[in-house]
């Protein structure tokens, strides 16, 4: 009995950690770039994941997860770093800030004037980031379930724990989505840049064979490091922009 409880709790917590990682990516992209394409990416990843599980079953463990982590991490890192770079340049005044009020008014006017097909166009960036995040983390949850479940001979119980973890994490995501949407857009883009880059470093490194100190907890360290570095760079560039150049000061 106690071994069943332990199996359920271990699988639940391990699955919840992976599901939170996927949720972070989905919330970040959905809030900043819009929900339609992001949710289509989530749906497509779920269908692909279900097909992989249905076809492979317990043979899932043969998938080279490290190679997948390496590719997904490298792509996320490249995309996230571009995002963070632009956010720092915007916050320090070297790129114009996105005027949210004006952008909202413009988009509302454009949406009113546009043909219905134009508004249905897919945002491939949101789709791709959400798709990769959910597919990778979904596969990791499945691996956890198959590994823990098959070693204990209780695959059904492990699957129930994994499913419960995903349901709980999705419910939390629905609750925090509203407050997140009220955060100013430029601030949110800065934070999303830090998050995507941190996850990219973590998955890319893990796929390359790195053993992170503290395992998944090291993601928090990466977020803190990149957050502090980005704030520092923003302040430095802001000061340089305000301070007159020596030639101007002499004149």
């Amino acid at each position: 009995m106690s071994s069943n409880v332990l199996l359920f709790l271990t699988t639940f917590v391990a699955s919840a950690v992976e599901a939170v990682e996927a949720l972070t990516i989905v919330l970040a992209v959905g809030v900043v770039r819009g929900w339609r394409s992001t949710l289509i990416g989530v749906g497509a990843a779920s269908v692909v994941l279900a097909a992989i599980v249905a076809v492979l079953g317990p043979a899932l463990r043969l998938i080279p997860i490290d190679s997948l982590r390496f590719v997904v991490g490298a792509l996320l890192l490249a995309f996230g770093l571009q995002w963070l770079r632009k956010a720092i340049l915007r916050a320090s005044g070297y790129k114009p800030l996105h005027d949210e009020g004006a952008a909202f008014a413009r988009e509302r006017d454009e949406a009113g004037a546009a043909a219905p097909t134009a508004s249905k166009r897919l945002d491939w960036y949101s789709f791709t980031v959400a798709f990769k995040g959910v597919l990778l983390e979904g596969l990791e949850v499945t691996f956890i379930v198959v590994t823990f479940g098959s070693t204990q001979g209780r695959l059904g119980l492990a699957a129930a724990a994994g499913a419960a973890a995903v349901v709980v994490v999705v419910a939390v995501g629905l609750v925090v989505r509203g407050p997140l949407e009220r955060v100013p857009e430029n601030t949110l883009k800065f934070v999303v840049g830090v998050l995507l880059t941190s996850f990219g470093i973590f998955w890319g490194g893990e796929g390359a064979g790195v053993d992170w100190p503290g395992s998944d907890v090291s993601i928090l360290g990466l977020i803190a490091f990149l957050g502090l570095l980005s704030i520092g760079l923003t302040r430095l560039l802001r000061q340089r922009r305000i301070a007159p150049s020596p030639a101007v000061a002499r004149a």
């Binding site: 890192l77 340049l89 070297y94 491939w124 960036y125 064979g209 790195v210 560039l237 922009r241």
Partner: protein
């Protein structure tokens, strides 16, 4: 042909974007991390360090070029 060009352009923008030097630096850092890890050398510090340096260099270069324009 139009779709192939659009597809390639999407992936170019996704991976390389505005600064090809950052993309090249990331590729080198990932490759070096892989090489060190395969040879049992602790390499967890390399990617965060490389990303920090690439980011700092890239934003400062962009700031300098926009000031001189």
């Amino acid at each position: 042909m139009k779709y192939i060009v659009a597809f390639l352009r999407f992936w170019w923008d996704f991976i390389v974007g505005d600064d090809w030097r950052v993309a090249l630096g990331l590729a080198l850092a990932l490759g070096l991390t892989w090489l060190l890890a395969r040879n049992d050398v602790s390499a967890w510090w390399l990617l965060p360090l490389a990303v920090g340096l690439l980011l700092a260099e890239s934003v400062q270069r962009e700031a300098r070029s926009s000031t001189s324009n």
